[in-house]
Subunit: 513 residues, 2 copies
């Protein structure tokens, strides 16, 4: 009964949608009442304490921090981007400094109050919203750029900075962020770090494990870990920052980030291509890695269903190619330092690929506006997919040669009840599998899961390439990780957060905690 | 007295050179006798047990594994590359399988016998040799290549594979290793991973934290952690492999590695340049990052003392430039996919740099033989530095603009008693500071330390950019890491290796364990 005892320590209130397996826990109204009382006390105590400890120059921090009055904002913070997960938190805090985060966590930990760290709340696995009525700590108010080392391209900023804002700032200084993703207008760098976001530039600049140079993190007990180095190389002891990259806020709250940013290269070229079959897409990737080599900066693919979805549901977009009878589309981007040479290189590559019949048709963007349209098609798929009704989203890493098989098998398996869409970062072996239906249904879910996880596991893939596990897949971790490894993860969780207050029910199965 | 109690559990024998601070421990001959008896028993028990547990098809494993008979080999394994650290292990084991490593560690852990994992023993901080008479586990016999995914360039191999052998194998398949270093002919990939080796290709391909895709690791208690994924993206739970990258064998023994290897690009060009002052070197780096951009693959610098050292002490080398009155030399390598374009690009860059007076003189290698000679000069510095007598080696990360100041300050500080040499990976902000004297002396050491560490700490640098802490700098960790961070490292060490049998006295100060 260890797991139930621990769960009750976190003072569950009541059960939200999409948390069926957790609904069986023994959490009655008496506990809810207790949590309510504690919450009132918390707000009172928190206000009093903050007033005492914060400098007098920040008199509005307390009123700004506690947002329970604003029901709309609270409701939005309780609901995930897909409207699939909804929590019931009554308390949304927006700390403005690391010290405040530390004090909030110290307070919550000493009283065993569960918290959910939240960035832009753009995640797709229910990792950034409460399951019950956990305290929400949103980092949006910590949005300052701290420094930019213009010789080495090292940016240091607070965790709440929005990715697109950082990229815009860097672009004006001759650098770019090493990651880019569809949610860039809302997602925060702290959330990107905590979920080890991948995205569109991964093939060129690699993982955040390679690009993050330093972090400041607040642990569950309020301890501030200053690992905010700005050095490319530092082999002094265990590199603990990696524990917090991708741990989805379950080991600590990232408050500051330093990141290596590549020089902004002057020449970007983008091609929108059609392939008749998946094998051609694979061969094209192999050739692109060799022939485009050092200038290749994106290799994205979409099937015809994905394209139809975007063109049918988003305004002002059309297929850049005259006919639309192709089965697959590929976006290839190159980024280099020589406009005319780079463009000629991409043109020669395409010509050669068409001669070899790898590519059936294609067009190179002639200006920035056209390039934006091409990207809008690729980046709009996620947005378009939720317009049709319900969408089951899977984010798989698979060996490239097997990657599209699951789309075809799933399509056969589901027949007419669903439209199965496949797209993603082919260059990284990352498939986004979207299954669109009129509404969420247990019958359909039973046809999809556990099949999709078993299939992925059988092919030694990952059931979460870049989205993380969150609430959706915490119990599925064993499809991708050995039991010894999960056990060690649990030991580390218990070491860093012995009261399990940080983002409970996410990432790891409750059975190991 | 916690630290002494724990130390005695590891059964110290006697004190070796260079371990002064540890010599004060209460370890008399009675303990030595006890360890000797236990060791005899260990050999006997180990042989018996291995005979029982290993398949009959491997009858020679036992005799091959236990090498106490071969005194020369044992002596070599006890001594570090610089002949600065010497242990007294009587037992050198060469396991051939992960299962054997597991059984050895299970055995040692249950009897609290300390072990030292060893790769090519090319480290520079005393991390790979015993301090006293720890059991040596050398990975040289686990040297098989397991697989190469030729579409994605993912190599999986055993930990004992020698770096150069891996690179030669990959080259024949159209790939290269993402790291390269002077010790490549002896160092093992498991050691590279365990020390988070940096080296010459870091500026292009980044850190091992970005390139290692999976590891198999044996923990102190013999548990095998299978994290040997081969996927570029995998966000399923905490990415624990990073704990073992750079932890110098103190958290587990790496037995297998999978690593992303870049495509071998066909065109490599190398320039050997002279600059009159350090500011020009910095400006040249800034320009190279922008103008050479995506083809830049190395930016190394050496001062005139480094060049003089190599030319004076290694056979068959001469300065590629006609006059030798320059203060600094820079090696710039580009790697790309187009021979004539890449060469023209480097030539244009050099011409422009000479016009701007950043470069005083320079030459581009005309063939592979000339390129090898240029590289031999850079890579020979470490070898040449030990030919003069004693050498104090420091490996610092510093902000580029401050990086050479420490060389000049140290030179003034030491005067005639030492020659101070500065070189390294300028593109990564990594200085190798070598101080050459006739012999090791406490007086000279007192002039160097703690000054060098205090200076580095004051400038927010790292006291170990890529060499690790080992025995030499375990007690110095606080110059680069906060006390909270070191405390968490200690907690993780105690979690993974509660008996502290793995590489004791290294990486972390004894005071926190």
């Amino acid at each position: 009964m260890e797991r139930y005892r621990r769960a009750s320590q976190i003072l569950l209130r009541y059960v939200s949608c999409e948390t069926r397996s957790l609904s069986k826990r023994p959490c009655g109204s008496s506990i809810a009442g207790s949590q309510s009382r504690i919450q009132e006390q918390f707000i009172r105590e928190y206000n009093t304490k903050l007033r005492n400890v914060l400098p007098h120059s920040m008199p509005r921090v307390c009123t700004r921090t506690v947002q329970v009055q604003d029901e709309d904002r609270l409701s939005a913070a309780n609901t995930d981007w897909m409207r699939k997960y909804k929590g019931s938190s009554q308390l949304l805090l927006l700390p403005k400094t690391t010290e405040e985060v530390s004090k909030i966590l110290f307070y919550c930990n000493s009283r065993r109050l569960a918290v959910v760290p939240q960035g832009g709340n753009t995640g797709l696995v229910g990792g950034s919203v409460p399951v019950f009525d956990e305290v929400l700590i949103n980092m949006a108010s910590m949005d300052k750029i701290i420094s930019l080392d213009k010789v080495n391209g090292i940016l240091t900023c607070e965790a709440g900075c929005i990715l697109e804002n950082l990229n815009n700032y860097l672009t004006s200084e001759g650098f770019i962020m090493p990651l880019d993703l569809g949610a860039k207008g809302s997602c925060q760098i702290g959330g990107n770090v905590s979920t080890n976001a991948g995205g569109l530039r991964f093939i060129r600049y690699g993982s955040l494990h390679g690009n993050i140079l330093g972090l400041e993190v607040v642990l569950a007990n309020g301890t501030v870990l200053d690992m905010l180095g700005t050095l490319r190389k530092d082999n002094t002891g265990y590199d603990l920052k990696h524990l917090f990259i991708g741990s989805e806020g379950s080991l600590g709250i990232v408050t500051k980030v330093s990141i290596l940013t590549p020089a902004k290269l002057l020449s970007t070229n983008l091609a929108f291509l059609a392939c008749n079959d998946y094998l051609s897409c694979q061969k094209l990737l192999f050739e692109a890695k060799r022939e485009l080599g050092e200038v290749l900066s994106a290799f994205e693919f979409m099937d015809s269903h994905a394209i139809d979805l975007v063109l049918g549901h988003l305004e002002g977009l059309r297929n850049p190619l005259p006919t639309s009878s192709y089965k697959f589309y590929v976006l290839i981007e190159t980024t280099g330092s020589d406009e005319s040479y780079d463009k000629a290189k991409l043109e020669a590559f395409l010509l050669h690929s068409m001669e070899c019949a790898l590519v059936s048709d294609g067009v190179i963007a002639q200006d920035i506006s056209q390039a934006s349209t091409f990207w809008r098609i690729r980046e709009g798929i996620s947005e378009a997919s939720v317009k049709l009704g319900a969408v089951y989203k899977y984010d798989l890493s698979l060996p490239v040669e097997k990657l599209y098989d699951i789309v075809e098998e799933m399509s056969q398996r589901l027949g007419d009840v669903a439209k199965v869409v496949g797209y993603g970062h082919l260059g990284d072996g990352n498939l986004h599998l979207n299954i669109l239906t009129a509404e969420y249904s247990d019958d359909i879910l039973a046809k999809i899961e556990p099949f999709v996880y078993e299939w992925t596991s059988m092919h030694r893939g990952s059931i979460s390439a870049e989205h993380g596990l969150g609430l959706m897949k915490a119990d599925k971790i064993h499809y991708s990780k050995s039991s010894e490894t999960v056990q060690l993860m649990a030991s580390i969780k218990k070491l860093l957060d012995p009261n399990c207050i940080l983002n409970p029910y996410k990432v790891l199965p409750q059975s190991v905690l």
